[in-house]
C-alpha cells in the first residue's frame, strides 16, 4: 500500500494498467540469505580451522616475524611470528562462540527479568526495572571493564561481561511486550481456563514476547562481537596468545602505517564479515517482522 502511485498513467490504448510487484520480501530474503551465508562461511571456517591451516593458532615461527604473505605463511605472520591465516581461522571459534553465548545468556537473563517484571507489575516491577536502569545507566565500557577486571580476562568472564551489558535491553523489551500482551484477551482466557501463573508465563506470555527478541538478537550478536573487539583493543579482552580478531587487529593495527597490512586487515575483514553477516540477518528478520506487522 506504500505506493500512492498504485495506479499510474497508462497509454490510452492499453486496457490494463500493470504495476510491478513488491520487492519487500525479496530484498529481506536476500538480506537474510546473504547474512546467513556469510555466517555459515565463518562458522565453517571455525569448525574446519585445523584442517585449513598448517600452523597452530598459537604456534610461533621463530624465524619469521612480520613475514609478508608467501608460501609457508599464506597471510604472512604477525609481530610474534604467528601465522595470520591460521589465527584468523581459529579466532572465529572464540569470536563467534563468545558473541553467541553472551547474547544467549543476555537473552535468557533479560527475558526472565522482563517476564517477571512485566507480568507481576507493582513493586516487583519497580525494583527490577530500577536494577535494570542501574545496569543500563552504567557506562557500557566501564561496566565491561569492571567485570573484566573483577573476574579476569577468561572467556567465561567475557561472556558474562558482554551479557551483563546486553541483558537490560532484553529485560526492557520483554517487559514492554509482556505488559501489552498481558492486557490481551488470550491471557484472560488462560486465567479463566484455570492456567497457573507459571503456565501463563511459560506457555503463553513467553513465546509471544520473544518475537521482538528474535529479530534483535542477531543484530546484537554483531554488536557483541564489536564490543569484544573493543575490549581486546583496550587490552581487556581475550589475552594473548589466544587468537581473537579484536586482539589481532589491535596488535597489528600499528603495522598498517608501515605498509604491513596483513597483520590486521585479515582479522579486520573477518570481523567485518561476521558482524555484517549478523547485521544483514538481523536487518532482514526485522524487515520481515515489520512487513508482517504492516
Amino acid at each position: 500500500m506504500a505506493d500512492l502511485r498504485g495506479v499510474g498513467p497508462g497509454d490510452a490504448g492499453a486496457d490494463a494498467v500493470i504495476v510491478t510487484g513488491s520487492r519487500d520480501d525479496r530484498f529481506s530474503r536476500i538480506l537474510i540469505i546473504t547474512g546467513a551465508t556469510l555466517l555459515a562461511v565463518v562458522a565453517l571456517a571455525a569448525l574446519a580451522a585445523p584442517l585449513l591451516s598448517s600452523w597452530g593458532a598459537t604456534e610461533v615461527d621463530p624465524n619469521a616475524t612480520l613475514a609478508a604473505p608467501a608460501g609457508a605463511h599464506l597471510l604472512g605472520t604477525d609481530t610474534n611470528g604467528m601465522d595470520v591465516w591460521s589465527r584468523v581461522l581459529h579466532a572465529a571459534r572464540l569470536d563467534l562462540g563468545i558473541a553467541v553465548a553472551a547474547v544467549a545468556l543476555a537473552v535468557v537473563v533479560g527475558t526472565l527479568l522482563g517476564l517477571v517484571a512485566g507480568y507481576r507489575g507493582g513493586w516487583i516491577d519497580d525494583v527490577l526495572m530500577r536494577v535494570v536502569d542501574i545496569f543500563q545507566a552504567f557506562p557500557t565500557f566501564i561496566l565491561a571493564l569492571a567485570v573484566a577486571a573483577l573476574l579476569g580476562n577468561g572467556t567465561v568472564n567475557l561472556i558474562i561481561t558482554i551479557a551483563a551489558v546486553n541483558a537490560p535491553a532484553y529485560a526492557r523489551l520483554v517487559r514492554a511486550e509482556v505488559r501489552t500482551q498481558r492486557e490481551l484477551p488470550f491471557v484472560d482466557a488462560a486465567v479463566t481456563s484455570g492456567a497457573s501463573t507459571t503456565g501463563i508465563l511459560w506457555r503463553h506470555l513467553l513465546p509471544n514476547s520473544l518475537t521482538p527478541v528474535r529479530t534483535i538478537a542477531p543484530l546484537n550478536c554483531g554488536w557483541a562481537m564489536l564490543t569484544l573487539a573493543g575490549l581486546s583493543f583496550l587490552g581487556l579482552g581475550v589475552s594473548i596468545p589466544e587468537a581473537e580478531w579484536g586482539a589481532m587487529i589491535s596488535l597489528g593495527a600499528p603495522d598498517v602505517v608501515g605498509g604491513r597490512w596483513w597483520t590486521s586487515v585479515p582479522p579486520g575483514l573477518a570481523l567485518f564479515v561476521s558482524v555484517l553477516g549478523f547485521s544483514l540477518l538481523g536487518e532482514g528478520l526485522q524487515e520481515r517482522a515489520n512487513a508482517k506487522r504492516r
Binding site: 598459537t58 604456534e59 610461533v60 621463530p62 616475524t65 612480520l66 609481530t79 610474534n80 611470528g81 604467528m82 577486571a149 580476562n153 587490552g235 589475552s239 594473548i240 596468545p241 593495527a253 600499528p254 603495522d255 598498517v256 602505517v257 608501515g258 605498509g259
Partner: protein
C-alpha cells in the same frame, strides 16, 4: 601544525625553530612529586621544570652524547660537598636565583621543600631512606644560602640519590595556598607546576598538552637552547609515527620498535640510537613453586630463546646480557654465566629437578607491547622444554598489588637503574626486602657483601665484591636476564643536541631544532 605538511610551516605562522614539538604517550599524573606523581612522563617533566640543585654532566660515548653518571655537578646550586666522614653534606645556593614569582631561592625554600618531602612519606622520602635521611631534622638551615644534610650513615650513593631528589619549591608562593587542612598545599601543587627550573610551564591543558618556555634566569651551566617546547599527548604509537613523518612533531617519545625500523629509512626523520643500560629480565619467585627449585630456574634460563627475542622483538637492536649486572655498569663481569638457549639442557635441568614438566603463569604489564612480545616468544620456546606458561597481562594497579604481596611466580621486568652502580642495584633488587626484588631472593653472602660495600670506597675492591656477586647470582639464577635493548629515538632531522639520559628521563635543555 594544522596542515600535515611541513613545507609551509614558516608561511602558516606555525612553530618555527624556536619551538620544539614532542609527542609523549600519556599526560603526567600530577605536578606534585612529593605526594603523588610517579609515572615516567611526570618524572621527565619534573626533571626539566623543577629546579634541581645538582645533575649529571654530559660526556660522549661513541658518536652520541650521554649523561655522565660518574660526574655529578651543581646546577642551580653553587656547590654540594660532603664533610670528611661523608655524613654531613653541605648545599650552597647561588645568590640571586629567582622563581617565576620573583621570590629568591633561599635555604628556607630548601628546608620547606625537604620537610614537605618527608611529610609526604612517598617517593622522595623513600629514596632518601637509602642514604640515611629519614627525619626533617636532618636537614638543617645554616644561613640564607646554606643547608646541611646530616645523614645517619655515610653513603657512596649520596650524590646520585640527591641528583634525583634535590629539587626546591617556591615556598613563599606555595605557603599562600596552604590551608589548615592542607598545610603542604597539595591541592595547589597537583594542578600548578612548580617554577624555577630550566623551563617554566607556560600553559598546560590537562591530559593534552604542555607548553614550556625556557627559564632565562637559569644561573648554571647548559642553559636551555630552545625557547619553547610543546609537549603533546598522543597515546597511539602509530599516530606518533604518522605525525613525525608528516613533520607535525619533532620528537616522538612513544614510537614502537617496529616503527623505528621503518623510520630509519624515512625522509626527514632520523633515529638517534645509543647503547642503553635498560635491562629486560624475567624474575622468578624463589619462594614459590615450582621456581623455588634452582634446577627449575635453570631450566627456564636455558629455555628462553635469547637470540630469537633479540631478533624478533628488537630487530637485532639489543645486546645480549650475560649477567644480572647491566653491561656498562662499573664492575660488570660475565664470567661463569652459562645460560644460552638450549632446549636439551633445559630438559635436562628439569629432569634434574625431578619434573617432566612445570606450569606457571608469566606476568607482564598489560599495556606493554614489548613485554607482551617477549612473553609470547618465551612461552612458545619454553613449552618445548616442558615449561608451560600461561600469559597473564596485569593492569598497573593489580600488578602493583600483587608485587606487594609477592605472589607472582614469574614476571617480566624491564628498567634501568637510576644510579649506575652495583651497590644501588643490590639495594634495590637483590637484598632481602628490596623493592625491586620481586624474586624474594635472599642470600646471606650477598647481604654481607652489600653491607661491606657501603664503606668500601676503593674502586678495585668494590669490583672484586661485584665479581663475587655475579658468581653467586649465576649459580642461584633468581633472574633470567634476557637482553639489554638499545635506545632508539626517532626525531626530525632538524633536531640536534640529544643527550642520552641514563635514567631514561630526557633532559630537554640540550635540545635544539634548526629551521
Amino acid at each position: 601544525a594544522n596542515s600535515g605538511s611541513d613545507s609551509d610551516d614558516s608561511t602558516s605562522g606555525g612553530p618555527t625553530a624556536s619551538t620544539l614539538r614532542i609527542a609523549v604517550s600519556s599526560y603526567l599524573s600530577s605536578w606534585d612529586q612529593d605526594f603523588v606523581g610517579f609515572d615516567l612522563t611526570a618524572l621527565m617533566m619534573f626533571k626539566n621544570v623543577f629546579p634541581y640543585m645538582i645533575d649529571y654532566g654530559v660526556t660522549t660515548a661513541g658518536d652520541s652524547q650521554i649523561l655522565d653518571t660518574q660526574n655529578i655537578t651543581p646546577t642551580f646550586a653553587e656547590s654540594f660537598e660532603p664533610d670528611a666522614e661523608q655524613k654531613v653534606w653541605t648545599l650552597k645556593l647561588r645568590r640571586g636565583v629567582t622563581f617565576a614569582s620573583g621570590n629568591e631561592m633561599t635555604a628556607a625554600d630548601v628546608k620547606w621543600s625537604k620537610d614537605r618531602a618527608f611529610a609526604a612519606q612517598a617517593n622522595v622520602a623513600g629514596i632518601y631512606r637509602t642514604i640515611g635521611l629519614t627525619e626533617p631534622d636532618q636537614v638543617k638551615v645554616v644561613d640564607d644560602h646554606t643547608v646541611e644534610f646530616h645523614q645517619a650513615f655515610p653513603s657512596a650513593l649520596t650524590r646520585q640519590i640527591q641528583a634525583i631528589s634535590l629539587y626546591v619549591f617556591d615556598s613563599v608562593e606555595a605557603k599562600k595556598h596552604a590551608t589548615a587542612d592542607d598545610p603542604w598545599a597539595k591541592e595547589w601543587f597537583a594542578k600548578n607546576a612548580p617554577t624555577g627550573g630550566y623551563y617554566n610551564v607556560a600553559r598546560a591543558t590537562q591530559g593534552q598538552e604542555i607548553e614550556l618556555t625556557a627559564n632565562t634566569g637559569y644561573p648554571g651551566p647548559d642553559a636551555p637552547r630552545t625557547p619553547t617546547i610543546r609537549i603533546s599527548v598522543v597515546p597511539a604509537a602509530s599516530n606518533q609515527r604518522l605525525q613525525l613523518q608528516a613533520g607535525d612533531i619533532d620528537i616522538a617519545l612513544g614510537v614502537s620498535q617496529r616503527d623505528i625500523e621503518d623510520l630509519r629509512s624515512t625522509d626527514g626523520v632520523k633515529v638517534i640510537s645509543a647503547a642503553s643500560n635498560r635491562q629486560v629480565a624475567i624474575q622468578m619467585s624463589v619462594t614459590s613453586a615450582p621456581f623455588d627449585n634452582v634446577d627449575v630456574r635453570k631450566a627456564l634460563a636455558y629455555a628462553v630463546p635469547y637470540e630469537q627475542i633479540i631478533n624478533n622483538v628488537y630487530g637485532g637492536d639489543a645486546r645480549a646480557a650475560k649477567s644480572p649486572v647491566p653491561l656498562d655498569m662499573p664492575g660488570y663481569d660475565e664470567s661463569g654465566y652459562p645460560f644460552t638457549h638450549d632446549v636439551d639442557r633445559a630438559r635436562a635441568a628439569l629432569t634434574a629437578a625431578g619434573r617432566a614438566s612445570v606450569e606457571s603463569e608469566l606476568v607482564f604489564e598489560a599495556d606493554n607491547e614489548e613485554q607482551q612480545r617477549i612473553a609470547v616468544q618465551v612461552q612458545s620456546e619454553a613449552a618445548k622444554a616442558g615449561i608451560n606458561l600461561k600469559l597473564t597481562p596485569l593492569d598497573p594497579a593489580t600488578l602493583g598489588e600483587r608485587r606487594t604481596r609477592k605472589n607472582i611466580p614469574l614476571q617480566l621486568t624491564s628498567g634501568q637503574l637510576w644510579v649506575n652502580d652495583v651497590e644501588y642495584m643490590l639495594a634495590t633488587s637483590f637484598v632481602e626486602g628490596a623493592n625491586l626484588n620481586y624474586s624474594n631472593y635472599t642470600n646471606a653472602e650477598i647481604e654481607q657483601i652489600y653491607e661491606q660495600s657501603h664503606t668500601t670506597v676503593d674502586e678495585s675492591a668494590r669490583n672484586a665484591l661485584w665479581q663475587r656477586v655475579q658468581q653467586i647470582l649465576a649459580a642461584d639464577v633468581p633472574w633470567v636476564v634476557i637482553c639489554q635493548p638499545n635506545f632508539n629515538l626517532p626525531v626530525r632531522e632538524a633536531v640536534a643536541g640529544w643527550v642520552q639520559p641514563m635514567d631514561g628521563l630526557a633532559r630537554l635543555r640540550y635540545l635544539s631544532r634548526s629551521a
